[in-house]
Structure formats: C-alpha cells, structure tokens
Amino acid sequence: MESRRDFLKTAATGAVLLGSQSKLGFAGMLDKGAENAKSKVVVAKDPALHGGSAQPDEKRVLDLLDRAIAAYTGHENPVEAWKRIVPQGKVIGLKTNGLGGKGISTHLALVLAICERLQQAGVKAGNIVVWDRNARDLEACGLTINTDPSRVRCYGSDVSGYEDRQEVWGTARIKLSKILTQECAMVIGLPILKDHVGAGVTFAMKNMYGVVDRPQDLHKGGCNPGVADLNCIPAIREKVRFTVGDALSSVYDGGPSFHPERLWYPNALIVGEDRVAVDHTAWQMIERKRAEVGMPTLEAAGHPARYIATAADKAHALGVNDPERIHLLEI
C-alpha cells in the first residue's frame, strides 16, 4: 500500500479519470432555494485517533476523513465522493494554518490524506497546491516546500507574492495572495480549531487572514467586521468553497498561539460548504470545552466571536448561524 507521504512525493498513479465536470454536486445546502434552507455540517469523531501519542494515527485520520466525506456527500466510496467535490483539470488549493507553530497547526496527516484522495479522484499531483502565508507556517505543519510542478506543490505567499491591486469590501482593504488569484480554481480550507484572544474563535473564515498581505489591519473590534468583510472579497467568497476543518487537537483558551496547558483533543473533523455554519459549529465546540473545565464563555471572557453573526447578516450573506438552519450531523 502506498503511504500517505507518497502522495505528496509522486504524481498520481492509477488515478481514476473523471467522467463529469461536476463540482460540489451534492446536497450541502439542504432544501436549496427554500426560504429556510439548511446548511449541512458534519462533525466526525474518532476518540482513539491519538492513542497515547501527541500525533494522530495517519491511517485513522484517513478513515475519519472518509467517514466525514461520505456522510457529507452521501457517497460511501470516498473517491467517488471527492470527484463530486473538486472540479476536473483545475488547480485545487489546500489552505492550511501553521501560524500557531508546531504545537497547534493543521495536522500533516490530514493534508496527506486529502492529497491522497484528491489524486485518486483524478486530480494531478501538480494541480494540488498546499499553501499558507509563508515557509515557516507550512513547515510548522510538517510540510516541505516544493515548487516542482510534477509533484504536489507546497509553498507560501512569500514565494508567490501578492497582487498589486487592492481589493476593498467594507473595512477590508487588502491585497490577495497570487496563489489564490492566479493559481487556484478552488480552495479547500484546512483551518485548525483555536480559541482566539481577539476574535473569540479562529477557524474557517478567520483562516482567510492568511491569504492577504496585511491581516493586522483586520483585527480591530475583535476582528468584527474584519473577518466577515474579508470573506466577502469575491475571490475568497467564490473560490474557497469547502472546509475540512481540523479539530484533531485544539486550544480552548489563550489562542491563537500554542498554549500546551490549554490543549485538548476533540479528535474531530468539521466539514461543510457553509463557512458560517462551520464556524458556528466550531465555536460551540470551544464553548462546551470551556464550560467543561469551568471557564467563562468567550463573551464573559471579553472576546466574543461576534464576526460569525456579522457574516450571516443580510449585508454579508456568507452563510447561516441560526442553529435551526444548520443540519448538524455528528458521527
């Protein structure tokens, strides 16, 4: 059996050619078109994921990913499921988050698992770009920088640079990474779940701070409305269409930096198209953990995750945050 790492090193072999150009052709939004349409979010867990180690078992991560994607798409065969998620013949970006350093970054095992399934679903190795702000962030995830187009590529915006043109939406005045604008047809977000001293929680939408040149300008007011405004920039709204959120490990307080004394292992993946619904689900997970250990809510602690409601309002319309409109499937 080919190892996970081989899927980063080699071009796809025996990959299935796609028969259709379908993308996201599954029921992520239930009852689409209806006034009270529900957004689907899958939380897949494996309590035995870590065993006694700080690093999750690679095989179990792949199995967990398969279960999550099967539940989300309704396709038991993971390769068939991925064919319905990604477009054929296009460059697919995997936006990781390595800001927290080696202790709390997107897990290598998850990146490897997705690279493997994408290639089996017909995506050429060179059409996969694993990316983040810079080399340091990628290396924090355990990744190795590679720009060779015959293999899965992995490099940061420090290599690609940023567009000269400034994009403006609300309070967001930023320049986008050329990896997003010029390389990728679609981006899958691979954020890592963390408490955030300013924003409350950082996950799917906050991960987009890593695709712009001056994220520090978006931190005012607890990142509200910065996060929501940023996600309304057309290239982000349109290209970042799916999240495979990493909640294999997390920090429930003191983030976004790594605080090992507040580390815990949800052993979960949070999957969905609706970035607001995904973030709402992730936020609730952090709140439950804080309550479990006797900590105040994020609101009481002075850093509420207000940007999630802002992202759901009519002006931003990025998704839904009403629990009644989120079809949450926990497996």
């Binding site: 924003a199 976004p256 090992p260």
Partner: protein, 164 residues
C-alpha cells in the same frame, strides 16, 4: 535561506537598537539565548528571529494585540531541542517596563500553574515555563509532554534568565 536572511535582519536590528542612545526604548541588553550545550542537553536549532512591535503580527497574529497594549518593544525567538528529541521554542518579549511584563504573566495564568523560583516571578506547567525579569517576559514552550520535560524546561529557563 529565508531563515538565514531573517537572522541577518535580527543581527542588524540588534545593532541598530544598540546604536540608538537616548531613544528611551528598552532593548535586549545582550543575546539571551543560550548556545548549544550551554544548558545540559539543550541544542539551539534555529537562528534567532527578532520582530519589532509593529511586525509582531507576523509571528503571533492576533496575539500581538495583547503584547502591544502591554508595551512590547521587540520580540526575539529561537528553537531548541532537548537530547535530540524534545522540541521547544524560547520567546523573549522585551516590554517597555516591568509592569508590562507583569501584566502579561498575570493575565495568562491558569489554576494549575506551579510557582517557580526564577527571575522576578515565574510559573511552570507540564510543557511550558513563563517568567519575567525586569522588562523581559520569557515564554518557553515544548511541543510535547515527556517525563523529563518539566525539569529540562526549567533548566533552560535558568539558562536564559542568567543572560538577561
């Protein structure tokens, strides 16, 4: 290569700060990072990177806000490894004054913090040691938990404290 460049910038930054008399800015008096072998079992595994307050977001993103509001002037960081296995990072925050260092240390404490005799005040956890000394706030964090980790981290912290 990038880290090599970073280290050059760090050295230049330190030289520049040293050449600015009377600015009122606190600065690192000397290199606080122990060399490999200076503390038993510890190897320094990266060049030191230094960030001015305005650039701190590049290193810790949203966390920068709390340090800036407490008056951080510069932040220097370096990676270490204990006995070739346990990886850790040492961050030295140079604050404007001792009150800034105290504010950060006291804000971040949790119930399970263990008091340690180090600098002006210090706390330790299974995978981290945080202490302050004058305007300096030092945070040492290991990436995993090992049986000998806590003792090794405190030893490294003493090595840093002696150089401040």
């Amino acid at each position: 290569m990038k880290f090599l460049l970073d280290s050059k910038w760090a050295v230049m930054a330190l030289v520049l700060f040293a050449a600015l008399p009377g600015t009122g800015c606190k600065k690192l008096k000397a290199n606080p990072f122990p060399d490999s072998g200076a503390v038993s079992g510890w190897q320094k595994t990266s060049d030191t990177r230094t960030f001015a307050a305005k650039d701190l977001w590049q290193y810790i993103d949203g966390d920068a806000e709390q340090y800036i509001s407490a008056g951080v002037v510069t932040t220097s960081t370096s990676d270490y490894k204990y006995q070739g296995k346990l990886e850790a990072v040492v961050d030295v925050y140079t604050m404007g004054d001792a009150a800034g260092a105290r504010k950060i240390l006291e804000t971040g404490q949790t119930k399970d913090a263990k008091q340690v005799q180090l600098g002006d005040a210090a706390v330790a956890y299974a995978q981290s040691v945080i202490f302050r000394k004058g305007p300096y706030l030092v945070r040492i964090v290991a990436y995993e938990s090992t049986a000998d980790g806590p003792q090794a981290l405190v030893a490294l912290a003493h090595g840093v404290e002696a150089k401040l």
